[in-house]
């Protein structure tokens, strides 16, 4: 290896795959350090001899770096500061960048002297599930003392408490082949598939493609593995149909070949203030998937196996070969397999002579390592060193000084994504590991170490072969290039899970501080299923999801129960494979962009004229239009109502649903979907329609105009525009597919305005183009016509009224909506016209006694609404049969009635329930409820609509409106629901 860069720490003994000329400054706990471009935070800290990085979850034990990848359970740090602070970040996958700030977490006081470390001395009282057994008394202490203390002590890192300043995005990708993992198997597959022209997505969590090739010394096709990986990747980048996604974690496998992936775009950049999103959450639709996610090394349980300096043997090789960092000067290897020996060999090759290699197996030495003490059939029983490892002790009492212990308990294939759809892995004794079962997600195949082929040669061959098969499957031309060639290293293993002679606690799950004793306790207390074990001990939870501990934990459990591991089983792996920030899940759907906003064409006019906007579903509508001097919304609304009833008011009703219905059977279709008859409606006329659900309850109401023999235009309520259209499509397509009926939404096509009030006709007479006649005789109540207005603009005019006044609704193509509103108001000045909003609309409809959303709540019948006679008995329609059920037509059924307060100064409240004056306030006494209320400026008091039992026989009756939620109970009188113009003289005038 080349000479180390003294600038980047004493631990740097070579350059690995990094460029020694590109140094990076960063901070850890306020101290300044240097690393190299291409370092992870973990490798840079190791290079700077920083072994102690944090404190453990429960016992606050000193902890260092344990792995070199996403499986890291120990080295969890807080990155950034202020609103950018992110806790529980794994140093092993954090790409070093200029200015990076990191802090250790979960300690009180300095990292080296954490006062909470007293928990370690109290460990006897803090065993697994201790919180289930203690804090039971005194009972009152739980909320006030125990829980707050536990909550304060629990957790690892801390949040900033500020809003996340980063932006996130999401996206959708489609591919013939998704390859998860750009290690040797994944690269081999991608090359073969890419050369054949398949659309390929290659995703890898790392920022350097190659996987273990970058951590090993092995050759591929006669060149160093890392070089082969770089060359292969460069070739893939040159292929336009291949998309390479580094820094991308495929975190979940979902139905139908859909995968979730998180791409980290700016986390590695010094300047994060650009406009690019920090992360992108991809949804990938893949016809075929190759899982080449590799394998994760696991530990062995022995006494005090958690000290800083104890790490996985494969991680030691990674730091050595990829980053040029020696994790220690006196390294001991403790292994139960041949792979551990390769760590010793690489150390020797790098000039870091291993202090010893301790193999639990009593077999001949797998390889000859000159000058290295070899102990076959030996075991480590405990270790020493408070803040860093100082020595290990063997079963025979021999103590060997060291500052790094490389442990290999074997490799566990990363089967997680194969299990996201309830797939069960199967046990393979020859590699002492679970491998994917046969019930894989649709279209997935698993290759390389992820599938249990732990040798390099096998991985390359499998990658190539899998791609060849997929190419054939896709009917593409097959490549003639051969599979890459490499040596097949030995992966012999003899399972060895825990050292029976261990002295001190032996850790299984480092992140959750779960020891073999905890598992034994769980077993003793009857929690013997792996799922129970997990929940009782927290084994396998949190950020690492037990990647290094699950198999070890269940092996210990199996030994306790005298079972085989395959009979003990595993827990269910669920997405996400690695932690995902909530911000990434939300993406860009934040704040006002959470959902779309709909605006009417005269939205701008409303904003410029005092419109106070309110969300009505997705729509923004003007509630009222404030004028100078008005300090309360009621002033605006009262003015709008009074002026409309006195002269003329103009209201934007564009939001009403509009459905264009055409076809030879359109009239018959309407007869079937409406309770009343439409086939008799004359061309040029409008009729009010009531629509029932199949169960006989009212679904919606509105008007439908007949524009031609085979052409109708239906309006729906704003709220039900979509659901009614959907309902009609269901009827058309599924119930009566033989009918010639065509539907298309015209809601967006037309801007529509109500012009209501005694002067409405006079105003419109100056608007509609000659020679169209809108006199009462020529254009009476419920007439409609297609015409032109304002000198040539096409329009539709309907003489219908929601306010109870003589009224029209005028529709023009949407592009003219803004201009029409302006023109109507300008032209209306001569008639003292006023714009009115949603509130005034509501007041006037209550005054008139029209039902609206509060009354059409899905639980009321035509009879309840006083519209029972509209349900025609001369024809069939949806809901007709069930609307005749006796219970829905009971003599004491609720009926829509009007209500006025006995004391006119009192306010009515919607939601109040009706009781007889002396009746108890019980459900049995409930007579109904107030559905809508308003202050009527016309009548000078509050008025209400509501449903009350046997309502028509209660006219004039005094009853109580009981409102326990908001307090209060007032007396009201039952009156007709038609407060204004009950005979309809105004609207027909």
């Amino acid at each position: 290896m080349n000479a180390p860069s003294s600038m980047t720490g004493a631990g740097r003994i070579g350059k690995g795959l990094l460029d020694p000329g590109k140094t990076i400054s960063f901070q850890f706990n306020g101290r300044h350090y240097s690393g190299l471009q291409g370092d992870t935070l973990a490798s840079a800290l190791l290079a700077n001899d920083q072994r102690l990085l944090g404190r453990s979850f429960k016992y606050h034990r000193p902890r260092g770096i344990f792995s070199a990848g996403a499986e890291e359970p120990n080295a969890l740090l807080e990155l950034g500061r202020g609103a950018y602070k992110e806790p529980n970040t794994r140093a092993t996958v954090t790409e070093l960048h200029e200015g990076l700030e990191a802090h250790s977490q979960n300690h009180r006081g300095p990292l080296s002297f954490d006062v909470m470390a007293i928990n370690d001395y109290l460990s006897s009282f803090l065993s697994a599930g201790f919180y289930y057994k203690t804090f039971m008394w005194p009972k009152a202490f739980w909320e006030k003392l125990y829980e707050p203390v536990i909550r304060a002590a629990a957790g690892l890192g801390s949040l900033s408490g500020e809003a996340d300043p980063d932006t996130y995005d999401k996206g959708f990708l489609h591919t013939d082949l998704l390859i998860i993992g750009a290690g040797p198997a994944g690269l081999a597959a991608a090359l073969t598939a890419g050369r054949a022209g398949l659309r390929v997505i290659l995703a890898d969590d790392d920022f350097l493609p190659g996987g273990r090739l970058n951590a090993e010394q092995m050759q591929v096709d006669g060149m160093p593995g890392s070089q082969w990986a770089a060359a292969s990747y460069a070739e893939l980048l040159s292929m336009p149909h291949v998309r390479c996604l580094l820094r991308t974690s495929v975190y979940g496998a979902f139905d139908h070949g859909i995968y979730g992936a998180l791409q980290r775009c700016t986390d590695h950049l010094a300047d994060k203030t650009g406009r690019r999103p920090r992360q992108i959450l991809w949804r990938i639709y893949a016809r075929q998937t190759i899982l080449s996610a590799g394998a994760t090394e696991r530990s062995i349980a022995f006494g005090n196996n958690d000290r800083p300096g104890i790490m996985l043997a494969g991680a030691v090789r990674t730091y050595l070969n990829r980053f040029g960092v020696a994790p220690g000067k006196q390294v001991i290897v403790f292994t139960n397999n041949d792979d551990g020996w390769r760590t010793a060999a690489d150390l020797s090759r790098a000039g870091v002579a291993p202090a010893a290699i301790i193999d639990t197996r009593s077999i001949p030495e797998p390889m000859h390592l000159p000058g290295v003490q070899v102990l076959m059939g030996a075991r480590i029983t405990t270790t020493r060193g408070r803040l860093a490892l100082r020595s290990v002790t063997l079963q025979d009492g021999q103590s060997i000084p060291c500052d790094c212990l490389a442990v290999s308990g074997g490799w566990s294939p990363n089967v997680h994504l194969t299990c996201h759809q309830r797939g069960r892995p199967v046990w393979r004794e020859d590699i002492a590991a679970f491998v994917p079962g046969t019930d894989l997600p649709s279209g997935m195949r698993v290759i390389g170490a992820a599938g249990g082929s732990l040798g390099l040669s096998a991985s390359l061959t499998e990658g190539h072969q899998a791609a060849v098969e997929l190419i054939k499957h896709a009917g593409r031309h097959q490549t003639t290039s051969p599979a890459p060639v490499a040596e097949q290293e030995s992966a012999r293993i003899t399972a060895f899970w825990q050292v029976p002679e261990s002295r001190g606690r032996a850790w299984v799950d480092l992140q959750n501080d779960v020891t073999t004793k905890d598992i034994a306790l769980s077993f003793r207390e009857g929690f013997r299923s792996v799922e129970h074990l997990k929940r009782y001990t927290t084994l396998g939870m949190a950020t690492d999801q037990g990647k290094t501990s699950n198999v070890l934990g269940l092996a210990v459990l199996a030994q306790l129960g005298g079972k085989r591991i395959e009979d003990t089983g595993t827990t269910i792996f669920r997405p996400p494979y690695t932690p995902i920030a909530i911000g990434a899940l939300a993406g860009r759907s934040r704040g006002k962009h959470f959902r779309p906003v709909r605006q009417t064409p005269s939205h701008r006019w409303a904003m410029e004229n005092g419109g106070d906007m309110v969300e009505s579903g997705l729509w923004l509508r003007a509630q009222w239009y404030s004028q100078a001097g008005e300090t309360h919304w009621r002033q605006s609304v009262d003015r709008e109502v009074q002026q409309t009833r006195r002269t003329v008011g103009i209201c934007d009703v564009t939001t009403l649903g509009k459905i264009d219905i055409q076809g030879r059977d359109a009239a018959e279709f309407l007869d079937r979907v409406y309770a009343n008859t439409f086939s008799t409606l004359a061309i040029g006329k409008v009729r009010y329609g009531l629509m029932l659900r199949e169960d006989g309850f009212v679904m919606d109401d509105g008007t439908t105009a007949r524009l031609g023999e085979t052409h109708f235009l239906m309006t729906t309520t704003t709220a039900n525009a979509v659901s009614v259209f959907r309902h009609l499509e269901f009827c058309r397509q599924c119930l009566w597919p033989d009918m010639d009926v065509h539907l298309i939404s015209a809601t967006e096509q037309w801007a529509q305005y109500a012009i209501a009030g005694p002067q409405s006709r006079a105003l419109l007479e100056g608007v509609v183009d000659a020679p169209f006649d809108i006199s009462n005789d020529a254009f009476p109540f419920m007439a409609c016509a297609e015409l032109t207005v304002f000198n040539g603009t096409p329009a539709r005019l309907f003489r219908i009224s929601f306010s109870g006044e003589m009224a029209y609704e005028l529709a023009v193509p949407t592009r003219y909506g803004h201009a029409l509103m302006e023109a109507l108001m300008e032209h209306g000045k001569a008639f003292d016209a006023v714009a009115y909003g949603l509130e005034a609309l509501g007041v006037m409809r209550v005054e008139k006694g029209h039902a609206a959303g509060n009354e059409l709540n899905g639980q009321t019948t035509a009879g309840n609404l006083g519209l029972g006679r509209m349900v025609s008995t001369k024809k069939d329609c949806i809901g007709a049969v069930l609307s005749r059920r006796s219970a829905m037509n009971a003599s004491d059924a609720i009926q829509l009635m009007g209500f006025v307060p006995e004391d006119k100064s009192q306010t009515l409240r919607a939601g109040a329930h009706f009781l007889l004056p002396d009746a108890p306030e019980t459900t049995e006494s409930d007579l109904g409820w107030m559905s809508s209320v308003a202050y009527s400026p016309t009548l000078g008091s509050h008025i209400g609509l509501g449903f009350i039992r046997n309502g028509s026989n209660r006219l004039g009756e005094r009853i109580r409106a009981y409102d326990p939620v908001r307090g209060g109970s007032i007396f009201v009188q039952v009156v007709s629901p038609h407060f204004v113009d009950p005979d309809g003289e105004r609207l027909r005038g």
Binding site: F172, R275, R588, P596, E748, Q749, V767, N791, A819
Partner: protein
């Protein structure tokens, strides 16, 4: 004027995207205005032979007037005048042409006569063109449908939803997409496409 109204006013058109024309790096986002869009629905006729005859008659009418042939669902036909016919659902197409009439449905009815039902949709849609090398990448952020050139070319039309909005997508040129979305949510529509483009350049 013989057919004039009393008020001496005319109405001028306002378009929801207000003439948007934005160049973000090398990719342009521009509003498309003043198109005629008319839905054409084929009458539902039970007899196979009669149904085929009606369809053929409609196709003859469209061919003779616009040089366009009826397409299957998801397919698009176009002519040198850049008129296009979009197959959106069984028996339903959108005819998209340059502005020809103040009442395009009425005008088209004279062409198709009884072979189809027509409805004006010209004002229902806000239309955006996104053109340039980053167009596809931008749309990948919001469109769940495969819009790769191999899946969507000039002969295709796609109905989908983006950010909860209904969208019709076509790709008249390799690096130009045209998106139609309901006019009432035009501002949200513009925002979503604009943000997507900004996020990828």
């Amino acid at each position: 004027m013989e057919n004039a109204c009393v008020a001496d006013m005319t109405l001028s058109a306002n378009y929801p995207l207000d003439g948007l024309d934005e160049l973000i790096e090398d990719t342009r986002l521009s509003a498309v205005e003043n198109l005629d869009i008319v839905s054409i629905a084929l009458p539902r006729i039970l007899g196979a032979e009669e149904a085929r005859q009606t369809r053929d008659a409609l196709e003859d009418n469209l061919k003779s007037s616009f040089g366009l042939q009826l397409t299957d669902v998801g397919m698009r036909s176009s002519n040198p005048d850049k008129d296009s016919l979009l197959g959106l659902q069984p028996g339903l197409w959108f005819l998209v042409t340059g502005k020809q009439s103040s009442e395009p449905a009425r005008a088209l009815k004279t062409v198709v006569r009884d072979t189809a039902y027509v409805t004006d949709q010209s004002d229902s849609w806000a239309i955006l063109d996104i053109a340039g090398p980053h167009a596809q990448a931008a749309l990948e952020r919001i469109c769940s449908v495969d819009i790769d050139q191999s899946a969507v070319d000039a002969t295709r039309v796609v109905r989908t939803s983006m950010e909860h909005l209904s969208v019709i997508l076509e790709r008249p040129e390799t690096e130009r997409f045209r998106l139609y979305s309901p006019v009432s949510s035009a501002r949200s529509f513009q925002h979503m496409v604009s943000v997507s483009l900004q996020n990828v350049v």
